[in-house]
Protein backbone atom coordinates (compact mmCIF):
# COMPACT_ATOMS: atom_id res chain seq x y z
CA UNK A 1 0.00 0.00 0.00
CA UNK A 2 2.59 2.55 1.11
CA UNK A 3 4.97 1.14 -1.48
CA UNK A 4 2.48 1.87 -4.22
CA UNK A 5 1.97 5.34 -2.81
CA UNK A 6 5.71 5.90 -2.85
CA UNK A 7 6.03 4.63 -6.41
CA UNK A 8 3.23 6.98 -7.36
CA UNK A 9 5.04 9.87 -5.70
CA UNK A 10 8.26 8.96 -7.51
CA UNK A 11 6.43 8.79 -10.81
CA UNK A 12 4.79 12.11 -10.05
CA UNK A 13 8.18 13.66 -9.25
CA UNK A 14 9.52 12.37 -12.53
CA UNK A 15 6.58 13.94 -14.34
CA UNK A 16 7.26 17.18 -12.50
CA UNK A 17 10.91 17.23 -13.53
CA UNK A 18 9.84 16.50 -17.09
CA UNK A 19 7.05 19.03 -17.18
CA UNK A 20 8.30 21.92 -15.04
CA UNK A 21 10.07 23.41 -18.04
CA UNK A 22 6.80 23.33 -19.89
CA UNK A 23 5.08 24.90 -16.91
CA UNK A 24 7.40 27.85 -17.42
CA UNK A 25 7.27 28.14 -21.23
CA UNK A 26 3.58 27.33 -21.56
CA UNK A 27 2.36 28.52 -18.20
CA UNK A 28 4.33 31.70 -17.84
CA UNK A 29 5.54 32.61 -21.33
CA UNK A 30 2.25 31.44 -22.87
CA UNK A 31 3.92 29.50 -25.65
CA UNK A 32 2.13 26.26 -26.58
CA UNK A 33 5.16 24.04 -27.02
CA UNK A 34 4.04 20.52 -27.86
CA UNK A 35 7.67 19.66 -28.65
CA UNK A 36 8.67 19.67 -25.01
CA UNK A 37 8.86 15.89 -25.05
CA UNK A 38 11.41 16.07 -27.87
CA UNK A 39 13.83 17.82 -25.51
CA UNK A 40 13.17 15.20 -22.84
CA UNK A 41 13.91 12.50 -25.39
CA UNK A 42 17.15 14.23 -26.35
CA UNK A 43 18.27 14.15 -22.73
CA UNK A 44 17.42 10.46 -22.49
CA UNK A 45 19.36 9.54 -25.62
CA UNK A 46 22.37 11.65 -24.62
CA UNK A 47 22.49 9.78 -21.34
CA UNK A 48 22.21 6.32 -22.90
CA UNK A 49 24.95 7.09 -25.39
CA UNK A 50 27.20 8.51 -22.67
CA UNK A 51 26.66 5.51 -20.40
CA UNK A 52 26.74 2.71 -22.94
CA UNK A 53 29.34 3.91 -25.45
CA UNK A 54 31.52 6.32 -23.47
CA UNK A 55 31.21 4.70 -20.02
CA UNK A 56 30.66 7.99 -18.28
CA UNK A 57 29.53 7.59 -14.64
CA UNK A 58 25.77 7.99 -14.22
CA UNK A 59 25.87 10.97 -11.88
CA UNK A 60 28.19 12.79 -14.27
CA UNK A 61 25.99 11.97 -17.25
CA UNK A 62 22.96 13.71 -15.72
CA UNK A 63 24.44 17.25 -15.73
CA UNK A 64 25.83 16.65 -19.21
CA UNK A 65 22.35 15.66 -20.38
CA UNK A 66 20.99 18.81 -18.79
CA UNK A 67 23.59 21.04 -20.46
CA UNK A 68 23.35 19.39 -23.87
CA UNK A 69 19.58 19.71 -23.97
CA UNK A 70 19.74 23.27 -22.69
CA UNK A 71 22.18 24.16 -25.49
CA UNK A 72 19.86 22.57 -28.04
CA UNK A 73 16.94 24.48 -26.56
CA UNK A 74 18.90 27.72 -26.69
CA UNK A 75 19.84 27.13 -30.30
CA UNK A 76 16.29 26.37 -31.39
CA UNK A 77 14.90 29.23 -29.34
CA UNK A 78 17.28 31.76 -30.93
CA UNK A 79 16.71 30.53 -34.47
CA UNK A 80 13.10 29.37 -34.64
CA UNK A 81 11.00 29.77 -31.50
CA UNK A 82 11.82 33.44 -31.07
CA UNK A 83 9.76 34.42 -34.09
CA UNK A 84 6.67 32.70 -32.77
CA UNK A 85 6.17 34.36 -29.37
CA UNK A 86 3.87 36.90 -30.94
CA UNK A 87 2.01 34.45 -33.18
CA UNK A 88 -1.30 32.82 -32.39
CA UNK A 89 -1.60 29.55 -30.53
CA UNK A 90 -2.49 27.68 -33.68
CA UNK A 91 0.83 28.55 -35.32
CA UNK A 92 2.68 27.49 -32.20
CA UNK A 93 0.81 24.18 -32.10
CA UNK A 94 1.59 23.46 -35.75
CA UNK A 95 5.21 24.49 -35.48
CA UNK A 96 5.85 22.37 -32.42
CA UNK A 97 4.02 19.34 -33.86
CA UNK A 98 6.33 19.74 -36.85
CA UNK A 99 9.34 19.67 -34.52
CA UNK A 100 7.95 16.55 -32.84
CA UNK A 101 7.53 14.74 -36.17
CA UNK A 102 11.05 15.69 -37.21
CA UNK A 103 12.60 14.61 -33.92
CA UNK A 104 10.80 11.26 -33.94
CA UNK A 105 11.93 10.48 -37.49
CA UNK A 106 15.48 11.74 -36.91
CA UNK A 107 15.94 9.68 -33.75
CA UNK A 108 14.55 6.60 -35.50
CA UNK A 109 17.04 7.17 -38.30
CA UNK A 110 20.08 7.58 -36.08
CA UNK A 111 19.31 5.37 -33.11
CA UNK A 112 16.82 2.80 -34.37
CA UNK A 113 13.30 2.29 -33.08
CA UNK A 114 14.05 -0.16 -30.27
CA UNK A 115 13.71 0.55 -26.57
CA UNK A 116 16.85 2.00 -25.00
CA UNK A 117 18.18 1.00 -21.63
CA UNK A 118 21.31 1.27 -19.51
CA UNK A 119 22.79 -0.27 -16.41
CA UNK A 120 22.39 1.76 -13.24
CA UNK A 121 25.44 2.00 -10.96
CA UNK A 122 25.41 -0.48 -8.10
CA UNK A 123 24.70 2.04 -5.35
CA UNK A 124 21.42 3.01 -7.01
CA UNK A 125 20.16 -0.53 -7.41
CA UNK A 126 18.19 -2.38 -4.79
CA UNK A 127 15.81 -1.10 -2.18
CA UNK A 128 15.78 0.20 1.35
CA UNK A 129 13.56 -2.10 3.37
CA UNK A 130 11.81 0.00 5.99
CA UNK A 131 9.20 -1.25 8.39
CA UNK A 132 6.12 -0.52 6.36
CA UNK A 133 7.39 0.14 2.89
CA UNK A 134 10.28 -0.75 0.66
CA UNK A 135 11.82 2.15 -1.18
CA UNK A 136 13.72 1.72 -4.41
CA UNK A 137 17.00 3.62 -4.09
CA UNK A 138 16.73 5.01 -7.56
CA UNK A 139 13.19 6.24 -6.94
CA UNK A 140 14.33 7.88 -3.73
CA UNK A 141 16.93 9.77 -5.77
CA UNK A 142 14.26 10.89 -8.22
CA UNK A 143 12.02 12.13 -5.41
CA UNK A 144 14.90 14.02 -3.83
CA UNK A 145 15.81 15.66 -7.12
CA UNK A 146 12.20 16.60 -7.79
CA UNK A 147 11.89 18.34 -4.43
CA UNK A 148 15.26 20.04 -4.87
CA UNK A 149 14.33 21.32 -8.31
CA UNK A 150 11.01 22.64 -7.06
CA UNK A 151 12.70 24.55 -4.25
CA UNK A 152 15.48 25.92 -6.45
CA UNK A 153 13.09 27.06 -9.16
CA UNK A 154 10.69 28.59 -6.69
CA UNK A 155 13.53 30.54 -5.04
CA UNK A 156 14.87 31.71 -8.41
CA UNK A 157 11.43 32.75 -9.55
CA UNK A 158 10.34 34.52 -6.40
CA UNK A 159 13.48 35.77 -4.67
CA UNK A 160 16.05 36.73 -7.29
CA UNK A 161 16.10 39.75 -9.55
CA UNK A 162 16.21 37.42 -12.54
CA UNK A 163 12.92 35.91 -11.38
CA UNK A 164 11.23 39.23 -10.91
CA UNK A 165 12.47 40.45 -14.29
CA UNK A 166 11.14 37.25 -15.86
CA UNK A 167 7.76 37.70 -14.21
CA UNK A 168 7.66 41.30 -15.39
CA UNK A 169 8.57 40.30 -18.94
CA UNK A 170 5.87 37.65 -18.91
CA UNK A 171 3.15 39.93 -17.62
CA UNK A 172 3.72 42.68 -20.16
CA UNK A 173 6.71 42.49 -22.39
CA UNK A 174 6.29 45.96 -23.87
CA UNK A 175 6.26 47.70 -20.53
CA UNK A 176 9.08 45.49 -19.30
CA UNK A 177 11.11 46.44 -22.34
CA UNK A 178 10.32 50.08 -21.68
CA UNK A 179 11.74 49.72 -18.19
CA UNK A 180 15.03 48.53 -19.64
CA UNK A 181 14.58 44.84 -19.06
CA UNK A 182 16.12 42.91 -21.95
CA UNK A 183 13.26 40.56 -22.63
CA UNK A 184 14.90 38.53 -25.40
CA UNK A 185 17.87 37.14 -23.44
CA UNK A 186 15.67 36.47 -20.42
CA UNK A 187 13.26 34.41 -22.49
CA UNK A 188 16.16 32.58 -24.16
CA UNK A 189 17.75 31.69 -20.86
CA UNK A 190 14.42 30.60 -19.40
CA UNK A 191 13.66 28.48 -22.43
CA UNK A 192 17.10 26.90 -22.28
CA UNK A 193 16.71 26.04 -18.58
CA UNK A 194 13.25 24.62 -19.23
CA UNK A 195 14.57 22.45 -22.05
CA UNK A 196 17.52 21.38 -19.93
CA UNK A 197 15.21 20.28 -17.13
CA UNK A 198 13.18 18.32 -19.65
CA UNK A 199 16.41 16.65 -20.76
CA UNK A 200 17.25 15.85 -17.16
CA UNK A 201 13.79 14.39 -16.70
CA UNK A 202 14.21 12.33 -19.84
CA UNK A 203 17.52 11.02 -18.54
CA UNK A 204 16.01 10.10 -15.18
CA UNK A 205 12.97 8.59 -16.84
CA UNK A 206 14.75 6.00 -18.98
CA UNK A 207 14.84 3.64 -16.03
CA UNK A 208 11.20 4.22 -15.00
CA UNK A 209 9.15 4.83 -18.14
CA UNK A 210 11.49 3.63 -20.88
CA UNK A 211 12.73 5.47 -23.94
CA UNK A 212 12.01 5.00 -27.62
CA UNK A 213 11.53 7.40 -30.53
CA UNK A 214 7.81 7.78 -29.83
CA UNK A 215 8.50 9.26 -26.41
CA UNK A 216 7.48 12.86 -27.34
CA UNK A 217 4.06 11.74 -28.59
CA UNK A 218 3.43 9.24 -25.82
CA UNK A 219 4.06 11.72 -23.03
CA UNK A 220 2.81 14.90 -24.66
CA UNK A 221 -0.65 14.41 -23.16
CA UNK A 222 0.80 13.81 -19.68
CA UNK A 223 2.86 17.02 -19.81
CA UNK A 224 -0.10 19.00 -20.98
CA UNK A 225 -2.34 17.55 -18.29
CA UNK A 226 0.20 18.52 -15.64
CA UNK A 227 0.36 22.09 -16.88
CA UNK A 228 -3.33 22.66 -17.60
CA UNK A 229 -4.57 20.98 -14.46
CA UNK A 230 -1.85 22.57 -12.39
CA UNK A 231 -2.67 25.98 -13.71
CA UNK A 232 -0.45 28.52 -15.29
CA UNK A 233 0.26 30.86 -12.44
CA UNK A 234 3.26 29.27 -10.77
CA UNK A 235 5.11 26.08 -10.04
CA UNK A 236 3.23 24.79 -6.99
CA UNK A 237 0.14 23.99 -9.07
CA UNK A 238 1.99 21.86 -11.63
CA UNK A 239 3.88 20.21 -8.77
CA UNK A 240 0.66 19.14 -7.06
CA UNK A 241 -0.85 18.12 -10.38
CA UNK A 242 2.16 15.89 -11.17
CA UNK A 243 1.92 14.20 -7.79
CA UNK A 244 -1.81 13.68 -8.22
CA UNK A 245 -1.35 12.34 -11.72
CA UNK A 246 1.55 10.09 -10.75
CA UNK A 247 -0.27 8.57 -7.77
CA UNK A 248 -3.54 8.21 -9.69
CA UNK A 249 -1.77 6.55 -12.60
CA UNK A 250 0.28 4.08 -10.56
CA UNK A 251 -2.56 3.25 -8.18
CA UNK A 252 -5.05 3.00 -11.03
CA UNK A 253 -2.83 0.61 -12.95
CA UNK A 254 -2.30 -1.48 -9.84
CA UNK A 255 -5.77 -1.66 -8.33
CA UNK A 256 -8.02 -1.16 -11.36
CA UNK A 257 -6.02 -2.31 -14.37
CA UNK A 258 -9.16 -2.22 -16.51
CA UNK A 259 -9.94 1.40 -15.99
CA UNK A 260 -6.48 2.88 -15.37
CA UNK A 261 -6.25 5.57 -18.00
CA UNK A 262 -9.99 6.12 -17.73
CA UNK A 263 -9.59 7.67 -14.31
CA UNK A 264 -6.94 10.12 -15.45
CA UNK A 265 -8.92 11.55 -18.33
CA UNK A 266 -12.10 11.80 -16.29
CA UNK A 267 -10.17 13.50 -13.52
CA UNK A 268 -8.66 15.96 -15.98
CA UNK A 269 -11.99 16.85 -17.57
CA UNK A 270 -13.68 17.30 -14.21
CA UNK A 271 -10.89 19.50 -12.88
CA UNK A 272 -10.88 21.60 -16.03
CA UNK A 273 -14.63 22.02 -15.84
CA UNK A 274 -14.56 23.07 -12.22
CA UNK A 275 -11.44 25.21 -12.50
CA UNK A 276 -10.78 26.14 -16.14
CA UNK A 277 -7.72 28.13 -15.10
CA UNK A 278 -6.17 25.29 -13.14
CA UNK A 279 -6.21 23.90 -9.62
CA UNK A 280 -4.73 26.71 -7.62
CA UNK A 281 -5.62 29.82 -9.54
CA UNK A 282 -8.41 32.06 -8.45
CA UNK A 283 -11.65 31.81 -10.38
CA UNK A 284 -12.05 34.59 -12.88
Amino acid sequence: MLTILFDGVAYGMLLFVLACGLAVTLGLMNFVNLAHGAFAMTGGYVTTVLLNDWHVPFLMALPIAFLATAMLGLLLERTLYVRLYTCGHLDQVLFSIGIVFMSVAAVTYFMGSQQQSFQLPAFLQGRFELELLSVGRYRALVVAMGVAILIILQVILMKTSFGSRLRAAVDDRRVARGLGISVGPIFSLTFAIGSGLAGLGGALGVEIVGLDPNFPLKFMIYFLIVVTVGGTSGLIGPFLASLLLGIADVAGKYYLPDTGSFAIYTLMIVVLLMRPQGLLSKAQ
Binding site: L94, F95, I99, L217, I269
Partner: protein
Protein backbone atom coordinates in the same frame (compact mmCIF):
# COMPACT_ATOMS: atom_id res chain seq x y z
CA UNK B 1 -13.39 42.68 -39.68
CA UNK B 2 -15.17 42.29 -42.95
CA UNK B 3 -16.16 45.70 -44.29
CA UNK B 4 -19.61 44.47 -45.22
CA UNK B 5 -20.49 43.79 -41.62
CA UNK B 6 -20.20 47.46 -40.85
CA UNK B 7 -22.55 48.46 -43.67
CA UNK B 8 -25.94 49.73 -42.83
CA UNK B 9 -29.08 49.49 -44.90
CA UNK B 10 -30.99 46.40 -45.75
CA UNK B 11 -30.25 46.12 -49.46
CA UNK B 12 -26.49 46.23 -49.04
CA UNK B 13 -26.64 43.66 -46.29
CA UNK B 14 -28.68 41.27 -48.33
CA UNK B 15 -26.49 41.76 -51.38
CA UNK B 16 -23.57 40.77 -49.20
CA UNK B 17 -25.40 37.64 -48.20
CA UNK B 18 -26.23 36.80 -51.80
CA UNK B 19 -22.61 37.31 -52.77
CA UNK B 20 -21.54 34.99 -49.98
CA UNK B 21 -23.71 32.16 -51.20
CA UNK B 22 -22.99 32.48 -54.90
CA UNK B 23 -20.81 29.83 -56.46
CA UNK B 24 -17.60 30.91 -58.12
CA UNK B 25 -15.67 29.68 -61.13
CA UNK B 26 -13.00 28.13 -58.93
CA UNK B 27 -15.57 26.06 -57.11
CA UNK B 28 -16.87 24.76 -60.39
CA UNK B 29 -13.32 23.81 -61.33
CA UNK B 30 -12.81 21.90 -58.08
CA UNK B 31 -15.93 19.82 -58.63
CA UNK B 32 -15.09 19.24 -62.30
CA UNK B 33 -11.69 17.90 -61.30
CA UNK B 34 -13.23 15.66 -58.64
CA UNK B 35 -15.80 14.31 -61.08
CA UNK B 36 -13.30 13.84 -63.89
CA UNK B 37 -11.06 11.89 -61.52
CA UNK B 38 -13.82 9.29 -61.51
CA UNK B 39 -13.06 8.52 -65.16
CA UNK B 40 -9.45 9.59 -65.58
CA UNK B 41 -7.99 7.68 -62.66
CA UNK B 42 -9.83 4.37 -62.64
CA UNK B 43 -7.18 2.56 -60.60
CA UNK B 44 -7.17 5.18 -57.84
CA UNK B 45 -10.75 5.14 -56.65
CA UNK B 46 -9.87 3.73 -53.24
CA UNK B 47 -7.50 6.61 -52.59
CA UNK B 48 -9.90 9.17 -54.04
CA UNK B 49 -12.72 7.90 -51.88
CA UNK B 50 -10.45 8.19 -48.87
CA UNK B 51 -9.62 11.77 -49.83
CA UNK B 52 -13.31 12.65 -50.17
CA UNK B 53 -14.06 11.19 -46.73
CA UNK B 54 -11.14 12.94 -45.09
CA UNK B 55 -12.14 16.17 -46.83
CA UNK B 56 -15.58 15.92 -45.22
CA UNK B 57 -13.91 15.29 -41.87
CA UNK B 58 -11.68 18.34 -42.27
CA UNK B 59 -14.71 20.36 -43.31
CA UNK B 60 -16.29 19.50 -39.98
CA UNK B 61 -13.23 20.92 -38.24
CA UNK B 62 -13.32 24.03 -40.43
CA UNK B 63 -16.88 24.71 -39.31
CA UNK B 64 -15.89 25.07 -35.68
CA UNK B 65 -12.34 26.35 -36.08
CA UNK B 66 -12.50 28.51 -39.17
CA UNK B 67 -15.91 29.96 -38.49
CA UNK B 68 -16.46 29.82 -34.75
CA UNK B 69 -12.86 29.94 -33.53
CA UNK B 70 -13.05 26.78 -31.39
CA UNK B 71 -9.65 25.07 -31.52
CA UNK B 72 -10.04 21.31 -31.23
CA UNK B 73 -7.70 18.34 -31.24
CA UNK B 74 -10.54 15.91 -30.57
CA UNK B 75 -12.60 15.87 -33.71
CA UNK B 76 -11.83 12.15 -34.05
CA UNK B 77 -14.28 11.51 -31.19
CA UNK B 78 -17.25 12.10 -33.48
CA UNK B 79 -15.56 10.41 -36.41
CA UNK B 80 -15.23 7.34 -34.24
CA UNK B 81 -18.78 7.47 -32.91
CA UNK B 82 -20.06 7.75 -36.50
CA UNK B 83 -17.88 4.88 -37.68
CA UNK B 84 -18.90 2.52 -34.88
CA UNK B 85 -22.59 3.42 -35.22
CA UNK B 86 -22.52 2.74 -38.95
CA UNK B 87 -20.76 -0.56 -38.38
CA UNK B 88 -23.19 -1.65 -35.67
CA UNK B 89 -26.23 -0.64 -37.71
CA UNK B 90 -24.91 -2.66 -40.65
CA UNK B 91 -24.35 -5.72 -38.49
CA UNK B 92 -27.48 -5.71 -36.32
CA UNK B 93 -30.16 -3.68 -38.09
CA UNK B 94 -29.98 -3.13 -41.81
CA UNK B 95 -27.33 -3.19 -44.50
CA UNK B 96 -28.80 -0.18 -46.25
CA UNK B 97 -26.00 2.44 -46.35
CA UNK B 98 -28.18 5.55 -46.32
CA UNK B 99 -30.08 4.52 -43.19
CA UNK B 100 -26.76 3.70 -41.55
CA UNK B 101 -25.51 7.15 -42.48
CA UNK B 102 -28.53 8.86 -40.95
CA UNK B 103 -28.32 6.87 -37.72
CA UNK B 104 -24.59 7.62 -37.40
CA UNK B 105 -25.21 11.31 -38.03
CA UNK B 106 -27.79 11.32 -35.25
CA UNK B 107 -25.52 9.41 -32.86
CA UNK B 108 -22.54 11.68 -33.48
CA UNK B 109 -24.75 14.74 -33.20
CA UNK B 110 -26.04 13.53 -29.85
CA UNK B 111 -22.52 13.00 -28.50
CA UNK B 112 -21.49 16.35 -29.97
CA UNK B 113 -24.39 18.11 -28.29
CA UNK B 114 -23.63 16.46 -24.96
CA UNK B 115 -19.93 17.38 -25.07
CA UNK B 116 -20.40 20.84 -26.55
CA UNK B 117 -21.00 22.23 -23.08
CA UNK B 118 -17.45 21.22 -22.17
CA UNK B 119 -15.82 23.53 -24.72
CA UNK B 120 -17.77 26.65 -23.81
CA UNK B 121 -15.47 27.59 -20.96
CA UNK B 122 -11.78 28.18 -20.70
CA UNK B 123 -8.93 29.22 -22.92
CA UNK B 124 -7.69 27.63 -26.14
CA UNK B 125 -5.44 25.36 -24.14
CA UNK B 126 -8.29 24.16 -21.93
CA UNK B 127 -10.34 23.43 -25.03
CA UNK B 128 -7.50 21.49 -26.62
CA UNK B 129 -7.10 19.40 -23.49
CA UNK B 130 -10.80 18.78 -23.00
CA UNK B 131 -11.31 17.71 -26.61
CA UNK B 132 -8.28 15.40 -26.43
CA UNK B 133 -9.62 14.02 -23.15
CA UNK B 134 -13.10 13.32 -24.54
CA UNK B 135 -11.60 11.50 -27.52
CA UNK B 136 -9.34 9.40 -25.31
CA UNK B 137 -12.27 8.54 -23.05
CA UNK B 138 -14.41 7.38 -25.95
CA UNK B 139 -11.45 5.43 -27.30
CA UNK B 140 -11.06 3.73 -23.93
CA UNK B 141 -14.76 2.86 -23.87
CA UNK B 142 -14.52 1.33 -27.34
CA UNK B 143 -11.41 -0.54 -26.23
CA UNK B 144 -13.03 -2.01 -23.11
CA UNK B 145 -16.50 -2.75 -24.47
CA UNK B 146 -15.23 -5.74 -26.40
CA UNK B 147 -18.68 -7.34 -26.48
CA UNK B 148 -20.05 -4.56 -28.64
CA UNK B 149 -17.08 -3.08 -30.46
CA UNK B 150 -14.75 -6.05 -30.73
CA UNK B 151 -12.12 -4.15 -28.74
CA UNK B 152 -8.63 -4.18 -30.18
CA UNK B 153 -9.63 -6.67 -32.89
CA UNK B 154 -11.96 -4.14 -34.46
CA UNK B 155 -15.52 -4.47 -35.63
CA UNK B 156 -15.67 -7.25 -38.15
CA UNK B 157 -18.36 -8.72 -40.36
CA UNK B 158 -19.79 -5.49 -41.69
CA UNK B 159 -21.56 -6.02 -44.99
CA UNK B 160 -23.14 -3.13 -46.81
CA UNK B 161 -26.03 -3.60 -49.21
CA UNK B 162 -26.31 -1.88 -52.58
CA UNK B 163 -26.64 1.89 -52.61
CA UNK B 164 -30.32 2.95 -52.85
CA UNK B 165 -31.05 -0.73 -53.46
CA UNK B 166 -29.54 -0.43 -56.94
CA UNK B 167 -25.77 0.01 -57.08
CA UNK B 168 -23.67 -2.61 -55.26
CA UNK B 169 -20.30 -1.68 -53.77
CA UNK B 170 -17.40 -3.07 -55.82
CA UNK B 171 -13.86 -4.12 -55.03
CA UNK B 172 -12.22 -1.20 -56.81
CA UNK B 173 -13.92 1.49 -54.79
CA UNK B 174 -15.77 3.05 -57.71
CA UNK B 175 -19.14 3.05 -55.99
CA UNK B 176 -17.44 4.09 -52.79
CA UNK B 177 -15.90 7.12 -54.48
CA UNK B 178 -19.17 8.14 -56.14
CA UNK B 179 -21.03 7.71 -52.84
CA UNK B 180 -18.45 9.65 -50.78
CA UNK B 181 -18.23 12.38 -53.39
CA UNK B 182 -22.00 12.79 -53.47
CA UNK B 183 -22.16 13.05 -49.68
CA UNK B 184 -19.23 15.50 -49.68
CA UNK B 185 -21.06 17.61 -52.27
CA UNK B 186 -24.25 17.62 -50.17
CA UNK B 187 -22.16 18.49 -47.12
CA UNK B 188 -20.50 21.45 -48.80
CA UNK B 189 -23.79 22.78 -50.23
CA UNK B 190 -25.39 22.57 -46.81
CA UNK B 191 -22.34 24.11 -45.12
CA UNK B 192 -22.46 27.03 -47.56
CA UNK B 193 -26.05 27.67 -46.63
CA UNK B 194 -25.13 27.54 -42.96
CA UNK B 195 -22.09 29.81 -43.02
CA UNK B 196 -23.71 32.25 -45.45
CA UNK B 197 -26.79 32.67 -43.30
CA UNK B 198 -27.16 35.21 -40.55
CA UNK B 199 -26.41 32.35 -38.18
CA UNK B 200 -23.04 31.88 -39.88
CA UNK B 201 -22.33 35.60 -39.72
CA UNK B 202 -23.06 35.65 -36.02
CA UNK B 203 -20.55 32.80 -35.61
CA UNK B 204 -17.88 34.87 -37.30
CA UNK B 205 -18.71 37.76 -35.02
CA UNK B 206 -18.22 35.45 -32.04
CA UNK B 207 -14.92 34.23 -33.47
CA UNK B 208 -13.64 37.76 -33.96
CA UNK B 209 -14.68 39.10 -30.60
CA UNK B 210 -16.78 37.15 -28.17
CA UNK B 211 -17.38 40.04 -25.82
CA UNK B 212 -18.59 42.43 -28.50
CA UNK B 213 -20.72 39.70 -30.06
CA UNK B 214 -22.58 39.17 -26.82
CA UNK B 215 -22.85 42.94 -26.42
CA UNK B 216 -24.78 43.26 -29.68
CA UNK B 217 -27.16 40.57 -28.50
CA UNK B 218 -25.82 37.35 -30.02
CA UNK B 219 -26.53 34.39 -27.71
CA UNK B 220 -22.91 33.24 -27.75
CA UNK B 221 -23.20 29.96 -25.88
CA UNK B 222 -26.29 28.77 -27.76
CA UNK B 223 -24.63 29.52 -31.10
CA UNK B 224 -21.45 27.70 -30.11
CA UNK B 225 -23.42 24.67 -28.95
CA UNK B 226 -25.32 24.66 -32.24
CA UNK B 227 -22.25 24.83 -34.49
CA UNK B 228 -20.37 22.30 -32.39
CA UNK B 229 -23.27 19.88 -32.76
CA UNK B 230 -23.49 20.50 -36.52
CA UNK B 231 -19.76 19.96 -36.83
CA UNK B 232 -19.95 16.69 -34.91
CA UNK B 233 -22.71 15.51 -37.28
CA UNK B 234 -20.38 16.19 -40.19
CA UNK B 235 -17.54 14.31 -38.54
CA UNK B 236 -19.89 11.44 -37.71
CA UNK B 237 -21.02 11.20 -41.32
CA UNK B 238 -17.38 11.10 -42.42
CA UNK B 239 -16.74 8.29 -39.95
CA UNK B 240 -19.79 6.39 -41.15
CA UNK B 241 -18.64 6.72 -44.76
CA UNK B 242 -15.28 5.36 -43.76
CA UNK B 243 -16.85 2.38 -42.00
CA UNK B 244 -19.20 1.63 -44.89
CA UNK B 245 -16.67 1.94 -47.70
CA UNK B 246 -13.91 -0.03 -45.98
CA UNK B 247 -16.36 -2.39 -44.19
CA UNK B 248 -14.15 -2.38 -41.14
CA UNK B 249 -13.88 -0.28 -37.98
CA UNK B 250 -10.95 -0.44 -35.60
CA UNK B 251 -9.83 1.51 -32.58
CA UNK B 252 -7.66 3.80 -34.66
CA UNK B 253 -10.74 5.87 -35.56
CA UNK B 254 -10.26 7.51 -32.16
CA UNK B 255 -6.52 7.99 -32.68
CA UNK B 256 -4.92 11.27 -31.71
CA UNK B 257 -3.16 11.21 -35.09
CA UNK B 258 -6.49 11.48 -36.84
CA UNK B 259 -7.40 14.75 -35.14
CA UNK B 260 -3.90 16.15 -35.54
CA UNK B 261 -3.74 15.23 -39.22
CA UNK B 262 -7.12 16.89 -39.79
CA UNK B 263 -5.77 20.04 -38.18
CA UNK B 264 -2.70 19.94 -40.42
CA UNK B 265 -4.81 19.42 -43.53
CA UNK B 266 -7.07 22.28 -42.61
CA UNK B 267 -4.08 24.53 -42.13
CA UNK B 268 -2.48 23.43 -45.39
CA UNK B 269 -5.75 24.06 -47.21
CA UNK B 270 -6.62 27.23 -45.31
CA UNK B 271 -9.33 27.89 -42.75
CA UNK B 272 -12.63 29.62 -43.13
CA UNK B 273 -13.66 29.11 -46.76
CA UNK B 274 -14.98 25.51 -46.77
CA UNK B 275 -12.73 24.28 -49.57
CA UNK B 276 -9.68 24.17 -47.32
CA UNK B 277 -10.69 20.63 -46.40
CA UNK B 278 -10.73 19.34 -49.97
CA UNK B 279 -7.52 21.10 -50.96
CA UNK B 280 -5.76 20.22 -47.72
CA UNK B 281 -6.81 16.57 -47.83
CA UNK B 282 -5.75 16.27 -51.47
CA UNK B 283 -2.38 17.93 -50.93
CA UNK B 284 -1.74 16.02 -47.70
CA UNK B 285 -2.52 12.62 -49.23
CA UNK B 286 -0.44 13.49 -52.27
CA UNK B 287 2.54 14.51 -50.13
CA UNK B 288 2.03 11.43 -48.00
CA UNK B 289 2.05 9.06 -50.95
CA UNK B 290 5.05 10.71 -52.62
CA UNK B 291 7.10 10.93 -49.42
CA UNK B 292 6.20 7.53 -48.09
CA UNK B 293 7.16 6.02 -51.44
CA UNK B 294 10.53 7.76 -51.27
CA UNK B 295 11.30 7.17 -47.57
CA UNK B 296 8.69 4.86 -46.10
CA UNK B 297 10.01 5.03 -42.57
CA UNK B 298 10.95 8.66 -42.28
CA UNK B 299 8.33 10.55 -44.22
CA UNK B 300 7.12 12.22 -41.04
CA UNK B 301 10.43 14.06 -40.93
CA UNK B 302 9.67 15.85 -44.18
CA UNK B 303 6.11 16.50 -43.11
CA UNK B 304 7.44 18.09 -39.94
CA UNK B 305 9.92 20.16 -41.93
CA UNK B 306 7.10 21.32 -44.18
CA UNK B 307 5.11 22.45 -41.14
CA UNK B 308 8.04 24.27 -39.59
CA UNK B 309 8.78 26.09 -42.83
CA UNK B 310 5.11 26.86 -43.37
CA UNK B 311 4.80 28.49 -39.97
CA UNK B 312 8.15 30.27 -40.15
CA UNK B 313 7.42 31.81 -43.55
CA UNK B 314 3.94 32.74 -42.45
CA UNK B 315 1.13 30.37 -43.15
CA UNK B 316 -1.48 32.98 -44.05
CA UNK B 317 0.87 34.51 -46.57
CA UNK B 318 1.65 31.19 -48.26
CA UNK B 319 -1.92 29.99 -48.38
CA UNK B 320 -3.34 33.30 -49.51
CA UNK B 321 -0.87 33.66 -52.36
CA UNK B 322 -1.62 30.11 -53.55
CA UNK B 323 -5.35 30.71 -53.23
CA UNK B 324 -5.01 33.92 -55.25
CA UNK B 325 -3.13 32.01 -57.90
CA UNK B 326 -5.93 29.48 -58.10
CA UNK B 327 -8.48 32.26 -58.33
CA UNK B 328 -10.21 31.44 -55.07
CA UNK B 329 -9.50 35.03 -54.26
CA UNK B 330 -9.18 36.99 -51.05
CA UNK B 331 -12.93 37.55 -50.93
CA UNK B 332 -13.59 34.04 -49.73
CA UNK B 333 -10.60 33.67 -47.52
CA UNK B 334 -11.28 35.42 -44.30
CA UNK B 335 -8.35 36.92 -42.45
CA UNK B 336 -6.96 34.76 -39.69
CA UNK B 337 -8.97 36.68 -37.20
CA UNK B 338 -8.76 34.13 -34.46
CA UNK B 339 -5.01 34.44 -34.61
CA UNK B 340 -5.16 38.20 -34.53
CA UNK B 341 -7.33 37.98 -31.47
CA UNK B 342 -4.86 35.79 -29.61
CA UNK B 343 -1.63 37.45 -30.58
CA UNK B 344 -0.14 40.57 -29.18
CA UNK B 345 0.94 43.48 -31.33
CA UNK B 346 4.49 43.27 -32.48
Amino acid sequence: MHPAIQMTGRSRNTSFLVEQSRSGLAELAVWTILLLAMFLAPGRHQLLSEIAIVALFVLSLDLIMGYAGIVSLGQAAFFGVGAYSAGLVAIYVTSDPVIGLLVSAAAAGLVGFATSFLVLRGSDLTRLMVTIGVTSLLGEIANKATGITGGADGLQGISIGPLLGLIPFDLYGTTAYGYSLAILFLGIVLARRIVGSSFGLSLRAIRDNQLRASAVGIPVNARLVAIYTISSVYAGVAGALMAQTTQFVSLDVFDFHRSADALLMLVIGGTGYLYGGIIGAGVFKLIQSVLSDATPQYWHFWLGLLLVVLVQVGRTRVIRSIANLLGLGPRQISPQANDAKMSQPR
